[in-house]
């Protein structure tokens, strides 16, 4: 613990450390953006008491993925088509969200009961968030691992900051989408862009292997 505190103090008092800290803060804030939108989108249609739980699940999942992928960066880079698979997964999440937006009362028409009458369940939202987190963390893996590798304190601080940022942003966005449902389409287009970009880059990556 003392080592970490000393490392943080060192980072805050040396020009090199400060530069690394600033770099990590900028990168982590930027990386938290896509996670925040997808968590907000998935949580928006839940009742308020379940919404905070869904956001918490999303933040924990994103953090775990980010740490795990940063540890196994080298191994992951050797797997061909991972980016393409991540993009396709994210497209599937987009499709599910599109269907929910088009048919908000889809599950309310059945005789499933009062819980279903609310629409999406917490488990469904959590599943969507975790799948999207896996895809987007894959996309960000190199950025996280490459930035400030020499400054673990800066990395820890940046990770903490991005967790807070994800929580605050996702809560704000979820509340906004609940009140003004049409804005959810804007969020969906943004996530669709991320998915499309991943599919394109993944396809370019596997093209030489498949000899297309």
């Amino acid at each position: 613990m003392n080592d970490i505190i000393n490392e943080i103090l060192k980072a805050l008092t040396t020009p090199d450390g400060l530069a690394a800290l600033f770099q990590v803060i900028m990168i982590d804030l930027v990386l938290a953006g896509d996670n925040a939108i997808v968590i907000g989108l998935a949580a928006a249609s839940l009742p308020p008491q379940q919404r905070s739980r869904a956001i918490l699940i999303g933040i924990i999942a994103a953090t775990v993925m980010r740490i795990a992928f940063a540890i196994f960066t080298i191994e992951l880079l050797e797997i061909a088509g991972l980016m393409l698979a991540g993009g396709v997964l994210l497209l599937w999440v987009c499709w599910k969200m599109w269907r929910e937006l088009r048919n908000p009362s889809h599950s309310a028409e059945g005789d499933i009961g009062a819980a279903a009458a609310k629409g999406k369940t917490l488990a469904q939202a959590a599943w969507q968030i975790v799948v999207a987190d896996i895809s987007m963390s894959l996309d960000n893996v190199l950025a996280v691992a490459g930035a400030a590798r020499e400054h673990p304190a800066a990395l820890i601080f940046g990770l903490g900051l991005s967790i807070v940022m994800m929580g605050v942003a996702a809560t704000f966005i979820a509340r906004l989408l609940e009140r003004h449902r049409w804005i959810a389409y804007v969020g969906l287009v943004i996530i669709l862009y991320v998915a499309g970009d991943m599919v394109y880059r993944g396809f370019v990556e596997v093209r030489p292997i498949l000899k297309i």
Partner: protein
């Protein structure tokens, strides 16, 4: 996995990440005002909380469109950046 940055890409300043941070900062200020002024979150019409959330959404969108690779290359020490090939 990341595309190899070309000299053209490296010459572009990271405008969108900076715009993103500006919007996120503005969202924070509006939310701070809404909290300080005790504005209701669920009143009719558009509340300061809605404005803060919209600014946050725009900030996140700018961050995504900004391509993180540009930001990383921008922060990389000058000597390690790819030098443009001399033209003959």
């Amino acid at each position: 996995m990341l595309p190899i940055p070309t000299p053209e890409v490296l010459s572009i300043p990271p405008v969108l990440p900076v715009v993103s941070l500006a919007f996120i900062f503005a969202a924070g200020l509006v939310a701070l005002f809404a909290w300080w002024a005790k504005r209701p979150r669920a009143a009719g019409g558009v509340t300061p909380w809605d404005v803060a959330a919209a600014l946050m959404l725009v900030g996140c969108a700018a961050a995504i469109l900004g391509e993180i690779e540009h930001l990383i290359e921008f922060f990389r020490p000058q000597e390690s950046k790819i030098e443009p090939k001399p033209t003959r």
